[in-house]
């Protein structure tokens, strides 16, 4: 497809842009426009769009520049806060993951001692008075000492998990 092109169109457009059409137009160029469909089309469109632009500009309801500026500052600030929070949130998720892995590893290692754990629980349930020292001695009586590892680990897991959940919910 060949595009219609006129060598004088640039001159016509320059006059239209500068507002020199038609007053400042040479008679020779005006004569050309009268006989050239492309240049006449440019004149028609340019004047239609220039009028439409002036009309639309008069309809615009503008906010004060200060309001726009203030909103932009607010957005910058929020974006900066988000940027800083992102690695902190990552660290929380990492801590949670480590906790879960530790819990799974501990459960897996203690799985074969579950029977002993069950008997220890029943012993605790049957005890007439609940006392931490008695609890400890009952655990110590169990062969293998595994409960003495399991209980502090479980307590540490609960505390660390609680802290992680608290920090995550605070966001």
């Amino acid at each position: 497809m060949t595009l219609g092109h006129c060598t004088r169109e640039k001159d016509v457009m320059a006059l239209l842009r500068s507002g020199g059409w038609p007053a400042a137009c040479e008679p020779e160029l005006r004569e050309h426009v009268a006989g050239c469909s492309l240049c006449a089309q440019a004149v028609l469109l340019k004047s239609a769009f220039a009028d439409a632009l002036a009309q639309a500009k008069s309809e615009a309801r503008l906010q004060a520049p200060g309001v726009v500026w203030w909103r932009a500052q607010l957005r910058r600030r929020n974006a900066a806060v988000k940027r800083v929070n992102r690695p902190l949130a990552g660290a929380q998720w990492f801590a949670l993951l480590i906790n879960l892995l530790a819990a799974v590893a501990l459960l897996a290692s203690q799985w074969r001692h579950m029977d002993r754990l069950r008997s220890w629980f029943s012993e605790v349930a049957d005890a007439p008075v609940f006392h931490p020292v008695a609890l400890w001695s009952m655990a110590a009586r169990q062969p293998g000492w595994n409960l003495m590892v399991l209980i502090p680990f479980a307590v540490a897991f609960v505390i660390l998990g609680g802290i992680t959940v608290y920090l995550a919910s605070e966001r």
């Binding site: 009028d51 439409a52 632009l53 500026w69 900066a80 806060v81």
Partner: protein, 189 residues
């Protein structure tokens, strides 16, 4: 708490950013006064929706101010602003839930009371309503904003050669529509 400490540090960082911002509030106020009406006219006439134009204009300036670097000089900044606005319009039309601009009623494109308007201007609204959004964009940038093909390519993200071809077709179509609707004889050959 660790959080308060972090936020305090962020705010210090933001203050430092403000100082290094590419345009200060005074320069922005001047730039806004000189560019806002033209930008609104572009958005309103191309989208055919003044309310949407209000929203997109505000978003365009917010993104403009949020840029890490601005081009040198007012002319380049203005072109950059029009580029942001053009992208926002494109994103708006691409959103599935919003109605297509092609479905907007013709009345949205009509000019105010028309009392002081020329024949061609009065008919430009309905003529534009029959054009595709991209054609409206190209025509507005070329004939209302006086941008060259290269500048329009930069604003719209199209190739310069494509702009030339698309603009040629759009121009022929809108001229034909204007000629059908007005008594204008010049340019209707």
């Amino acid at each position: 708490m660790i959080w308060d400490y972090s936020i305090a540090r962020v705010e210090t960082g933001v203050d430092a950013q403000d100082a290094a911002q590419p345009m200060d509030s005074e320069a922005f106020a001047g730039f806004y006064q000189r560019s806002a009406r033209s930008l609104w006219a572009y958005l309103a006439r191309v989208s055919g929706n003044p309310v949407l134009a209000d929203d997109l204009m505000q978003e365009a300036y917010l993104r403009f101010l949020g840029a890490a670097h601005l081009p040198d000089g007012e002319v380049a900044c203005r072109r950059y602003l029009f580029r942001i606005a053009t992208n926002l319009m494109r994103d708006h039309w691409r959103r599935p839930r919003t109605s297509s601009i092609d479905e907007l009623p013709e009345t949205l494109f009509s000019v105010g009371d028309g009392s002081a308007a020329s024949d061609a201007q009065v008919m430009l609204g309905p003529a534009l309503a029959q054009m595709r959004p991209r054609d409206r964009q190209l025509l507005w940038l070329a004939y209302a904003e006086n941008y060259t093909h290269t500048e329009i390519a930069e604003i719209t993200g199209l190739k310069s050669t494509s702009v030339r071809l698309l603009l040629f077709r759009a121009r022929r179509k809108v001229a034909r529509l204007l000629c059908n609707e007005t008594s204008a004889e010049r340019g209707c050959a």
